[in-house]
């Protein structure tokens, strides 16, 4: 069921991901120009985390909650979108930026290393969200929606 939910959300929201690649790809040369030391993995980690935050509401549509799907399944679908998909999008934008700039960082090894660090960073963030600190923010947002 998790792959179906992920495919469905990708089909409905692919344009947001494409726009995120475009935005981050614009951002990359500026970082490389003004702050060279942070051009590379930092962009992937920060961009991935930002997209991870933004993807928190991907499965909060009211119609989706009518489906007979357990909360654990929803959580797994959200985890894959927030951790893996977000980092892949950020790394894609970063790699395009590196390729366009002719950066020496452009390569398979650095891309793989950035992906690993990005996934761990976003996964760390998702782990934090299951702690009381993360839950406090979620419950406050929900109480405002009621």
């Amino acid at each position: 069921m998790v792959p179906r939910l992920i495919i469905d959300v990708v089909r409905r929201r692919w344009h947001i991901g494409a726009f995120a690649v475009f935005q981050l790809h614009i951002f990359y040369p500026l970082v490389a120009k003004f702050w060279p030391s942070s051009a590379g993995m930092a962009v992937t980690m920060c961009g991935g985390w930002f997209l991870s935050m933004a993807s928190a509401d991907l499965f909060s549509l009211r119609v989706l909650f009518q489906l007979p799907v357990s909360r654990r399944t929803w959580w797994l679908a959200r985890w894959w979108m927030s951790v893996v998909a977000a980092v892949v999008i950020a790394q894609l934008a970063s790699s395009i930026g590196q390729w366009r700039e002719g950066s020496p960082l452009f390569g398979v090894e650095y891309a793989l290393l950035s992906l690993i660090f990005g996934v761990l960073y976003c996964g760390f963030s998702m782990g934090i969200r299951t702690t009381p600190l993360g839950k406090s923010g979620v419950s406050r947002r929900r109480s405002r929606l009621r």
């Binding site: 935050m53 009211r62 909650f65 959580w75 797994l76 290393l113 996964g123 923010g137």
Partner: protein, 325 residues
Amino acid sequence: MTVLPVVILFIAAPFLLAPYLPLSFADLTATWLVVMLVMAAFTVVGYRHHPAITPRPHLRLASRLESVRSGNTVPSAAPALEAKIEAPPTGFLGRLTGTRMVLWEESRKQFIIFSVVFAIGVAWWAIGSQYRPWPPLNEVLRKMALLPFSTPSAPIMEPIVFGALLILANVGDVWMTSRIRSLRTLPVSSSTLGSLTVVLGLTSAAMLWLVLLALHGLVLRTLPSSPRLDLFMAFAALSTTTRTIRFVAPLQDKAKSMICLAPIFAVWLAAGYFVDSKDTWRPGLVQPAMLIGGLLTLVASWAVMRLAVTRSSRMYRPQPAVPTV
């Protein structure tokens, strides 16, 4: 608002650690392996998380479900809970209505965000300078373009830093200023509603100027030598444009949150064209562009918003009924 420091920390951490991040697998030291193990442990914890059975968001069933969960197995027999209604504000806040209420809420939000951001930055410098030979605070702030009143010319970092501040200012949404349907409930005319985004943008810039003035006074202990009207106008214009897009664009909230940041990225992209072939910044060209472009953008945003609230038939079309639970 207490989540804001955590958000800023997660955004800033990769950039602060950037000089120490490995460039290849051979650069992975024992320290990095330990850090990766800790992050992997949290990743596994997050993956294995089983969310508690609580009311779905948007379903408004919290009270009844809580009473059933407390031991009562028959929902209809659950005792009626006392309605959790917050006491209305009294005094000055209680008397605020219409535009003044929105302005108060927004000003307070912006002031808190900017104050927290600068406080975290200064605290970071205070802690870091104990362990590393960092330059004095006024030098750091000047390099980060955060002392704009000390010099009449725009430094090269200005578009990046103030663009980032604008992104942070959009982090916390006040319920009233995130969608136009909420604003339509206010007892204000369409003309006032059409001007609201411009006023909110100017308010946001004013709050930033207040905090920057305080920072300038505390750090330099001198009076400002330049009001930097061009920067004020550019910041207010960008803030107004992001709000106008958020109100007017026919998209869902999450998509609008991303699309409304497009003007900031456009400015960052354009900033590259103001650097000449010798990588020298050209403030003589940038500052008039900021002032005139800011004024024109403010007028354009006002026109778009006014058109949306007075002419757009979409606003007056019957809305689909919200299904009740």
